[in-house]
């Protein structure tokens, strides 16, 4: 039921997620941040069961920190996505994490931003725009419509806001609040809507 979607330009990436924690027919919380910071230039937006989301995010964050302390430098964005994929792919046949994610970040060395789409099987694909869950059905066309080569950051933010508007209009589940995270070479900026 979680909505997670994102779009990526040449040197910026934006991911957004809703902030509702649902429990049966009740909203337990409506200001949850489902986009976890992996480090200063990477985020992971997770859709799925709350417990798995928390556990998996925490596990990946700790694993990346351990890598940093062990080796003296941070893992780069592509390798982070591949590592996360491997963890999901090993888990699916042992004890699956029921989480679908988008990993977005800015790679300082390559000087470009990337967005990765992962699902709970361990499917990984680098994409320019993507969404998970029911949001995929609503926002895919909005993202496709807005996206063009050499898009600017402002156009990207406009696109994400249009996706949110679309979900709030047409999606059956009421999701009053969304968290938007914008990643550029200057770091991560957080915005909330609603």
């Amino acid at each position: 039921m979680d909505s997670v979607f994102g779009i990526c330009g040449d040197d910026w990436a934006i991911v957004a997620s809703d902030s509702v924690v649902a429990y049966s027919i009740m909203k337990l919380k409506s200001n949850e941040d489902k986009i976890y910071h992996l480090d200063d230039t990477k985020v992971m937006a997770i859709a799925g069961d709350t417990c798995d989301r928390e556990r998996f995010a925490s596990y990946i964050q700790r694993s990346l920190d351990w890598y940093k302390y062990k080796n003296g430098y941070e893992l780069d964005l592509e390798s982070t996505a591949e590592f996360t994929r491997t963890e999901l792919a090993t888990a699916i046949r042992k004890g699956p994490y029921n989480v679908n994610l988008l990993i977005a970040g800015y790679d300082e060395k390559a000087e470009k931003a990337s967005l990765y789409w992962l699902d709970y099987f361990g499917t990984l694909q680098e994409v320019k725009k993507g969404a998970h869950g029911y949001a995929n059905y609503f926002t895919s066309s909005v993202l496709d419509n807005h996206y063009k080569k050499d898009m600017t950051l402002d156009e990207g933010i406009e696109c994400i806001k249009d996706c949110i508007k679309e979900l709030q209009t047409r999606f059956l589940m009421s999701q009053p609040g969304f968290v938007i995270k914008i990643i550029t070479k200057d770091g991560i900026k957080v915005e909330t809507v609603g």
């Binding site: 699902d119 499917t123 694909q125 994409v127 993507g130």
Partner: protein, 207 residues
């Protein structure tokens, strides 16, 4: 929907004279919803061998890496590149290792065996997901498999040169992809000759 149809794919390989070709679509989907139009499904083993994996995308990624690890180990222990025909056996045995918890992938191998004196034996193999190898003059895999068999049989002729082979493989793939709703959104064709690997991206119907 079956687990083999979850991510959608079309894959075909054909023999020519001293050359082989392998082609795959580039669609990644979640059942009927397209996620990406540039998923890589064909991987290189060495200059004489390519393999493609159709089936569940996560297992395509995991299994292609497992094969890469095994062929790297082979190269380190034997100090030479693995032959295409040996690689076909490696694929069969490694899939059967997981007989009771398989990778949901259907591989297609295309390669050239060096027979010496400038002669090369083309090798084409296809499998089921537990490693039953079938070697023939063409191989089909993926959600479009049944569409591909018919059109491949018609387009195939013996001893094609690289250009004719490219045409035969592309047209077969296009015809089958256009019929299959789960495959499409672009295709990549690899023609393997003794001197080079020619890679061409075909612009197809974007649906």
């Amino acid at each position: 929907m079956s687990i083999m149809d979850y991510n959608g794919s079309a894959m075909v390989a054909m023999k020519g004279k001293n050359c082989v070709a392998i082609a795959a679509d580039t669609r990644l989907s979640q059942q009927l919803c397209t996620i990406s139009q540039n998923m890589q499904k064909v991987f290189k083993v060495n200059d004489r061998c390519l393999f493609g994996l159709a089936g569940l995308a996560t297992d395509v990624a995991t299994y292609s890496k497992e094969l890469k690890m095994k062929t790297n180990m082979y190269k380190l222990t034997e100090n030479r590149d693995i032959k295409a025909s040996t690689f076909t056996d490696l694929v069969a045995t490694s899939l059967y290792e997981k007989r009771f918890g398989p990778y949901f992938v259907v591989p297609v191998v295309a390669g050239l065996d060096d027979k010496g004196d400038g002669e090369y034996e083309p090798v084409i193999a296809s499998y089921d997901y537990i490693g039953c190898k079938e070697q023939s003059y063409f191989a089909c895999a993926g959600t479009s498999q049944s569409f591909l068999y018919g059109v491949c049989e018609s387009f195939y002729k013996e001893d094609m040169n690289p250009d004719e082979l490219f045409e035969a493989v592309s047209q077969s793939l296009l015809a089958a992809m256009d019929r299959d709703s789960l495959a499409g959104w672009g295709a990549t064709v690899y023609v393997l000759t003794p001197t080079e690997i020619i890679v061409k991206n075909i612009k197809t119907r974007q649906d």
